[in-house]
């Protein structure tokens, strides 16, 4: 699948960044003469206001985006999955309380809360950022998982597990492989959104700050130079778009592969029973 290939490429690039990058992303070789130099063979995407190589910064920026994207998505889906299973298997009381809570939480303006939290917590470390994003974003996953769990619980083998004396815990364990598909698809599709979210936060001056390059803060720095030196802002934007497309393609592909929706050709669709 194209999505998978693209994602793998990007991940590899990010991991190998220190080896691939032609220059040190933080180095400022010549702040006067090499300031905002246009793309050349030496500086593939030119340099920024501090004469830093945009290309190298781009490669390192990938690391931040990917780490935040994947880690937050994973964490969010873990929390959401746990809550979803608890709600799906728990008694009606537990289910109602949890799901009402989720309903209200889904209504909260996520970005606002993130902004407030980040602004008020100056110098928050990367792990805090990941945690915050995850904590404000697990609600959708919990709904999905709960629905799936309830569906599965109707099946005969689930009743059998309970009848044979297995408690709810055991049932939960049996359910995991099935629910895993839903969880994985949900997480993958989330990654793209989270990457954009992180970039947006960086752009607003929150999130990971300079001098560490993130695609978001690169665009911020490039903003004032947009007319004079467009490459500073354009390159990271393109990188973001391509990366998010890649994860979306991957997510779509996974979803289609794991949940075939009976696209059984025109025969069945046309006639039902022939």
């Amino acid at each position: 699948m194209f999505g998978l290939a693209l994602v793998t490429t990007i991940v590899l690039i990010a991991i190998l960044a220190p080896l691939i990058a032609p220059h040190d992303p933080l180095a400022m070789p010549d702040p006067v003469l090499l300031r905002t130099a246009p793309p050349s063979r030496q500086f593939l995407f030119g340099t920024d206001a501090f004469s830093r190589d945009v290309f190298s910064r781009l490669l390192f920026g990938a690391r931040v985006s990917l780490v935040v994207g994947i880690a937050s998505a994973a964490l969010a889906v873990l929390i959401g999955g746990a809550v979803g299973i608890a709600a799906g298997l728990g008694g009606p009381m537990v289910d109602t309380v949890l799901m009402r809570g989720v309903d209200v939480a889904l209504a909260l303006p996520r970005v606002f809360i993130l902004l407030a939290a980040l602004a008020l917590w100056e110098g928050a470390p990367l792990s805090a950022l990941i945690a915050l994003i995850a904590l404000t974003g697990w609600f959708g996953a919990s709904r999905l998982v709960r629905a799936h769990v309830r569906q599965l619980a109707e099946e005969p083998w689930a009743a059998a597990t309970l009848a044979l004396g297995g408690g709810k815990r055991r049932l939960a364990r049996h359910l995991l492989p099935h629910v895993a598909a839903t969880i994985i698809v949900s997480a993958t599709l989330d990654i793209g959104n989270i990457i954009l979210l992180e970039a947006g936060l960086s752009f607003l001056g929150l999130g990971i700050g300079p001098p560490t390059p993130t695609w978001g803060n690169m665009i911020l720095e490039g903003r004032d130079l947009i007319f004079a030196a467009p490459w500073v802002a354009v390159a990271p934007g393109l990188a973001l778009t391509i990366t998010v497309i890649a994860f979306n393609l991957l997510g779509d592909g996974l979803r289609d592969a794991l949940n075939p929706r009976g696209t059984a050709g025109r025969w069945n669709r046309l006639t039902g029973s022939v």
């Binding site: 889904l106 902004l115 407030a116 939290a117 602004a119 752009f203 607003l204 497309i245 669709r269």
Partner: protein, 321 residues
Amino acid sequence: MARFALRRVLAAILTVGLVVSITFLLAHLAPGQPMLADAERMHADPARIARIRAEFGLDRPLAVQYTMYVGNALRGNLGESFTMRRSVGEILRERLPHTALLAGAALLLAFAAGIAIAAIQATRAGSWTDAGVGAVTLTFHSTPSFWLGLILMVAFGQWLGWLPVGGMTTPVEHEQMGMMGRMVDVGRHLILPALTLALVLTAEIARYQRGALVDALGSEFVRAARAKGLAERAVLLRHALRAALAPVVVLAGMSVPALLAGAVLVETVFGWPGMGRLTRDAIVTRDYNLILGAAIISGALVAIGNLAADLGAHALDPRTR
């Protein structure tokens, strides 16, 4: 129907209350003092800091501050903005319509375009057109809105010079224009930011609606409609679209949080004087009352959006009644 609406309204109020409370807690529990970021950084005189704290009631216990705030808020007094030295209520009243204009325009645009695109794709499902349009919507869905805004600004504002570069009105000249002129002026400034905000949402609506329409077009009742002799256009509009509309309306209502988030970014990029930019500035400068005011508005808007979505779906799909 009335009970349904009542429950929803209560939920809305609950949401607003929750947002305010969370913001309140965050503001107080986070390291550092609200409102004093700049003052502290400049190592201001401790006595002065103490005075400011007293002035804004920051030296009272948390619960008391909370109660005071809620009490005042319910009476319409949202306090004063530290950075702008004006009543928060006044600032909000000024800025909110600008964001409403922007977000409203974007939502309408996205809705109309999204459904149209989805219809084009669904009626040609599986063709190259479908795939091509799908690729375009995927791309826009994946593009950072703030970056897109920048690009558009450069392209249309700078290179082509067709549209103004940022802001909501042309400085100085705006005051001298007549009513019509002023509207046109705002309109011209509105195009790019609204377009930016709309593009990403359009892609999402189109992607979502395409699936719903393809399902509807393949359904038995659509075949029955064709068997009655209806023309393809009538089938699409009266049957397929009608049946697939409810979920998309819900989606639109639920996108309010995303719209608001997008507004923060887009307003910042284009210098649009709205709530979004205000929120960001308030947060960064730790302007406490302003932050809380913005929180209330945010929460309220989201709640209204959800409410509208629910009511809309209810009205469109008789099975839910």
